[in-house]
C-alpha cells in the first residue's frame, strides 16, 4: 500500500484561463478567473482553499496569488520553480500534503501573458559573475531552443533519428488541434511543411517549436471525502514522480536521457502500471524532440527507437498512443509553461468531456511535464476508475 492507496487524492476541478492573445486581463486576473471556475467544478469556493501551489507568479508567487484571491489563512504553500514541470511536481507535493492532512483543498494555478507582453527573449542573462554568464552566455546558445537542438542533434547522431520523424510529432499535434476550437493553430500541416519551415538552430525548424501564447489555468486537488461534493467527476491520482538533472548544457549527464527516466519510473511504479496500460499521454511538447525523448525515457519504446515509434501517426487521432490530445504546445497554446494545461486536458479526457477529440474508453492517462532545458520533469498517472 502506497500513500495514495491509503489516502486517495483526486483532481476535483480544472479550468483554463483565457488563452491565446489576451489584452483585457492581467496575469493575476487570469489566475482568479481560472481558480473560480476550477473550484466551481469541485463544488467549492475560494473560502475552501487552504493550500496554494504556483510557479512564475512573481517573487514569492504563492503570497502574491493568495493575497489577490483573498486567501489569508492557507496552511500549505509552495512556489517551487521547476519550470514547465512544476505543475506535475505540485500534484505530488499537494497529494502528499493532503495525505498528511497538512491541507485539504489545494489550488494549483498559473498564468502568463508572454505573447501580448512580448516577454520572451532567447538571449542569455547579462552579468559577469554567475556560472551561466562566465561559462555559457559568451557562446550565444539561444535559450531554450539551442539546448534542445543539441539534444536532438546528439539523438540523431547516436540513433539515426530524422527530421521527418520529429516532424511527425508536430503533424500529430496539429491533427488533434483541428478538433479543438480553443487551439491557436488549426490549419492543415504536413511533414513537408515542417521540413520546409525555417531552420532556427539545426536540426530544429520553426515548426518543431511550440507556440508562444498567453494563457494559464487552475486545478483543485482534495481528499476523498471532499471530492464527493464535486460537480463534475473527480479524477484520481494514482502515480506521481519528479526529477531533475542539470541547468547548464554542458552539465547534462547524458544528452539523450531526460529526467523523465526517474520521474516516470517513480510514477509508473506507484501506479502499478506499465506503459502498455496507458490509454493516452499528454507529453510536454515544447519542441518535437521533447516528446520523442520523453516517450523513450518513460518506457513506451526503447532508447533510440523514438523516431520509428512516433512514425506512422501513432500519436495522432486514431493512432495507438493518443498524445497531445488538445493540440499540445505545438498547436493549441503554450503560455510559457504548459505543465498545468497538460493536467487539465488529461482530466477532461478521463471525464469523457473532450468532445470531438475524446479518446474512446480512456481509463488511464499520463501527464508528463518538462521544464528548463530538459532540466526537470514531473509525471502524473491518473484514472477515472
Amino acid at each position: 500500500m502506497n500513500v495514495l492507496d491509503k489516502h486517495p487524492v483526486y483532481i476535483a476541478g480544472v479550468a483554463e484561463s483565457p488563452l491565446g492573445e489576451i489584452y483585457d486581463h492581467t496575469e493575476l486576473s487570469m489566475v482568479a478567473v481560472a481558480a473560480r471556475e476550477a473550484l466551481a467544478e469541485a463544488g467549492m469556493t475560494l473560502k475552501d482553499v487552504d493550500g496554494i501551489f504556483v510557479n512564475y507568479m512573481g517573487e514569492q508567487g504563492s503570497v502574491q496569488v493568495g493575497e489577490y484571491l483573498g486567501i489569508h489563512s492557507a496552511r500549505y504553500l509552495d512556489s517551487s520553480d521547476l519550470g514547465g514541470a512544476a505543475f506535475e511536481a505540485f500534484v505530488q507535493h499537494a497529494a502528499l500534503a493532503i495525505a498528511e492532512e497538512r491541507c485539504e483543498v489545494a489550488l494549483v494555478t498559473y498564468s502568463s501573458r508572454q505573447r501580448s507582453l512580448r516577454g520572451r527573449s532567447m538571449a542569455p542573462p547579462p552579468g559577469r559573475v554567475s556560472i551561466t554568464s562566465q561559462f555559457e552566455a559568451p557562446y550565444g546558445l539561444p535559450f531554450p531552443i539551442g539546448y534542445y537542438a543539441m539534444i536532438a542533434a546528439r539523438h540523431m547522431h547516436l540513433y539515426g533519428t530524422t527530421s521527418a520523424q520529429l516532424a511527425e510529432i508536430a503533424v500529430a499535434a496539429r491533427k488533434w488541434a483541428q478538433m479543438n476550437p480553443k487551439a491557436w493553430k488549426r490549419d492543415p500541416l504536413t511533414v513537408k511543411d515542417v521540413l520546409d519551415s525555417r531552420l532556427i538552430c539545426d536540426p530544429l525548424h520553426a515548426l518543431d517549436c511550440c507556440l508562444v501564447t498567453d494563457g494559464g489555468g487552475a486545478l483543485v486537488l482534495t481528499n476523498k471525502s471532499r471530492a464527493r461534493g464535486a460537480v463534475k467527476k473527480p479524477i484520481r491520482v494514482i502515480g506521481m514522480g519528479e526529477s531533475q538533472t542539470h541547468w547548464h548544457a554542458a552539465q547534462m549527464p547524458d544528452m539523450t536521457v531526460s529526467p523523465g527516466k526517474i520521474s516516470g519510473r517513480e510514477a509508473f511504479a506507484m501506479a502499478g502500471i506499465t506503459p502498455a496500460d496507458v490509454d493516452f499521454i499528454e507529453p510536454y511538447d515544447s519542441f518535437t524532440i521533447t516528446v520523442l525523448m520523453a516517450l523513450e525515457d518513460l518506457g513506451f519504446c526503447q532508447k533510440g527507437e523514438g523516431g520509428s515509434f512516433v512514425s506512422g501517426g501513432r500519436l495522432a487521432p486514431g493512432g495507438a498512443l493518443p498524445a497531445m490530445t488538445m493540440g499540445g504546445g505545438l498547436s493549441y497554446n503554450h503560455p510559457g509553461a504548459l505543465g498545468l494545461l497538460l493536467l487539465v486536458e488529461a482530466v477532461r479526457q478521463l471525464r469523457g468531456e473532450a468532445g470531438p477529440r475524446q479518446v474512446k474508453n480512456a481509463k488511464i492517462g499520463v501527464a508528463h511535464g518538462v521544464g528548463g532545458v530538459f532540466s526537470t520533469s514531473g509525471t502524473v498517472v491518473m484514472t477515472n476508475e
Binding site: R128, V129, G146, I151, R154, C201, D202, A250, Q251
Partner: protein
C-alpha cells in the same frame, strides 16, 4: 580595460581559471584523491567530496559531443550563423563552446583556440 580589471571577471572560485585564460592557458580542477577532473570549478571534488583538488593545465584537446548551427540572432554581439557546441575535454568534463572557422560534425576532434574580448579575459573556443 587593464589586465587588472579583466581579472575582476568571474568569481572567487573561478578566479584561477580566468587568470590562466588571460595567459591563454586552459586549466581545470583535478582531484588528487579520486583522480576525477571537473569543470566548471567548485570548492571541492564533487565526485568524492575531497578537498584535495588542484588546478592543472588541460591538454587543450576535445571531441564534439553535440552541436547546433545557430541561425537566429539573439543579441547584437552574436552574428548568425555560428556553431555552438558541447565539447568533451580529453580529461573528461564537458564545456559549452563555439567551433570556429570550419564546418565540423559530432565526434570531430578539436583543439583549443582563444577569442579576444573587449571587456573580459580571452574566451576558450575550439577549432579543428
Amino acid at each position: 580595460m587593464s589586465e587588472n580589471e579583466k581579472l575582476k571577471y568571474g568569481d572567487a572560485i573561478s578566479a584561477p581559471f580566468w587568470e590562466a585564460a588571460a595567459q591563454r592557458r586552459l586549466v581545470i580542477q583535478h582531484c588528487r584523491q579520486c583522480g576525477a577532473y571537473q569543470f566548471y570549478p567548485r570548492p571541492y571534488c564533487i565526485a568524492c567530496g575531497a578537498d584535495d583538488i588542484v588546478w592543472e593545465n588541460a591538454r587543450g584537446e576535445a571531441t564534439i559531443y553535440s552541436m547546433t548551427t545557430v541561425r537566429v540572432q539573439i543579441a547584437p554581439e552574436f552574428k548568425p550563423p555560428y556553431i555552438a557546441a558541447v565539447v568533451q575535454l580529453a580529461e573528461g568534463p564537458r564545456m559549452l563552446a563555439n567551433i570556429e572557422g570550419v564546418s565540423p560534425k559530432i565526434g570531430d576532434r578539436v583543439k583549443i583556440a582563444w577569442r579576444e574580448r573587449e571587456n573580459a579575459p580571452p574566451l576558450p573556443v575550439w577549432t579543428l
